[in-house]
């Protein structure tokens, strides 16, 4: 029994090894390009890229394995590279950014904010262009949290790991992100139609 599970584990790891190498050979230079934009020095940028791959191999492989869309995979890798690079800069500067420093829009919406309720509300009432515009205005951390959770279907704890923050901070970002997006969309609707969409 133990032999069989090791064989199966070996097979899984063989595919995983090929997947990791494919990812490296396809995206490593793009990651390097991005890391250099933040870190400037090639040595530091290589360190950031290597750290991302090491983390994927040791902790986040389940997530990477589950990503089927090439654009999502690229976004995931580049986001991970960006976050790792920023953490390296922060470690040198020894400063940190807390959730409280992120500016809040006035939140006036009383919409239902469960995940399904949020998606239904947006889909039912909004057009693609309005949504794109509102997403562009949304704070980056909230937008990223919404992307990982809804588009890449990651759990809250997986999102927290990726964004190097606590589960509670991630939950807050999702709640606030949904509220803020709806608030922006309601504002868009008001400006477009001149009517209260409620």
């Amino acid at each position: 029994m133990i032999s069989l599970s090791l064989i199966l584990a070996y097979l899984d790891d063989e595919k995983d090894k090929i997947l990791l190498e494919d990812i490296f050979n396809t995206y490593s230079k793009q990651m390097m390009c991005l890391a250099k934009m933040y870190l400037k020095k090639e040595e530091d940028a290589e360190d950031a890229v290597a750290t991302v791959f090491e983390r994927i191999a040791s902790r986040n492989f389940d997530v990477v394995r589950s990503i089927k869309n090439d654009i999502d995979l690229r976004n995931y890798l580049l986001k991970a590279t960006k976050n790792t690079s920023l953490n390296m800069i922060k470690a040198k500067k020894k400063t940190c950014v807390s959730l409280e420093q992120i500016p809040e829009h006035r939140i006036g919406s009383k919409e239902e904010l469960t995940d399904e309720g949020f998606l239904e509300t947006v889909c039912r009432r909004m057009e693609c262009e309005e949504v794109m515009k509102a997403l562009g205005s949304l704070n980056e951390k909230y937008r990223d949290a919404l992307y990982y959770h809804f588009v890449m279907e990651m759990t809250v704890s997986e999102v927290a790991k990726l964004m190097f923050q606590s589960v509670s901070a991630t939950k807050q970002q999702l709640v606030r992100g949904k509220k803020m997006l709806l608030s922006l969309l309601n504002k868009e609707g008001d400006e477009t139609s001149g009517n209260d969409k409620k």
């Binding site: 889909c123 693609c128 809804f150």
Partner: protein, 222 residues
């Protein structure tokens, strides 16, 4: 008009992707050669991935618990595991303006080739057409009906030096099957150079070979 759920998810995906619009979308558009320390770090990571028990020993505590079991099972299971050993022969590359030199240093004490590397199995459509060998060199040629050719050259690695003309050929380093490989390309020819078990291996490909077939060749060369 209302949007569908997929349209909304696509809009979120697009909004996030916009952040990386300025990053070229293909690695081939980016001119960068990774440093040797970086490539060694990656090769080490990929070698770890190929060990069947990596996920069971990826913490210090698990390693202690599984060490004896793994040693016993290596003999008992039907899997083949590559032996874990430090290379005696070190593989270096030096990059100059117009050429790259690959060379091998070290002395494993070998005076003759003790194990011949052959393609097992041979890729579909290919057959062995010739083989020549002496104490220090084995050269095997394979061909298919379309005229594509694979030449495997195995040499005792100590002291081997190879110059690759980077003005004419595209030269890059990649990790394939956990092995650091130097690849040079010119017209319809590809050359892969690496070291394994103290031997210098050169795989020369003439014809149309995609990445999957190249990976298969490296994997089947044993």
């Amino acid at each position: 008009m209302a949007m569908t759920r997929n349209e909304l998810l696509e809009a979120i995906r697009k909004a996030v992707s916009l952040e990386f619009e300025h990053v070229p979308k293909n690695d081939s558009e980016i001119e960068h050669t990774f440093s040797l320390p970086f490539m060694k770090r990656m090769a080490k990571l990929f070698r770890k991935q190929e060990k069947a028990y990596w996920k069971y020993v990826n913490t210090a505590g698990k390693r202690v618990a599984v060490a004896i079991l793994a040693a016993a099972l290596l003999f008992a299971t039907a899997c083949s595991f590559k032996p874990i050993r430090e290379p005696v022969i070190k593989f270096f590359t030096e990059v100059y303006e117009t050429f790259t030199t690959c060379f091998f240093e070290g002395d494993d004490g070998k005076k003759a080739i003790e194990k011949e590397y052959v393609l097992e199995p041979v890729p579909e459509g290919f057959t062995e057409v010739s083989k020549s060998s002496d104490d220090a060199t084995v050269v095997t040629n394979y061909e298919n009906q379309n005229g594509a050719r694979i030449r495997i050259t195995q040499i005792l690695a100590n002291g081997v030096k190879l110059n690759l003309d980077t003005e004419k050929e595209g030269v890059r380093r990649e990790v394939i099957e956990g092995i650091e490989v130097v690849i040079s390309e010119f017209e319809n020819r590809k050359q892969l150079v690496y070291t394994v078990d103290q031997y210098y291996i050169q795989v020369s490909l003439t014809g149309d070979f995609d990445d999957q077939l190249i990976r298969q060749i490296i994997r089947n060369l044993k």
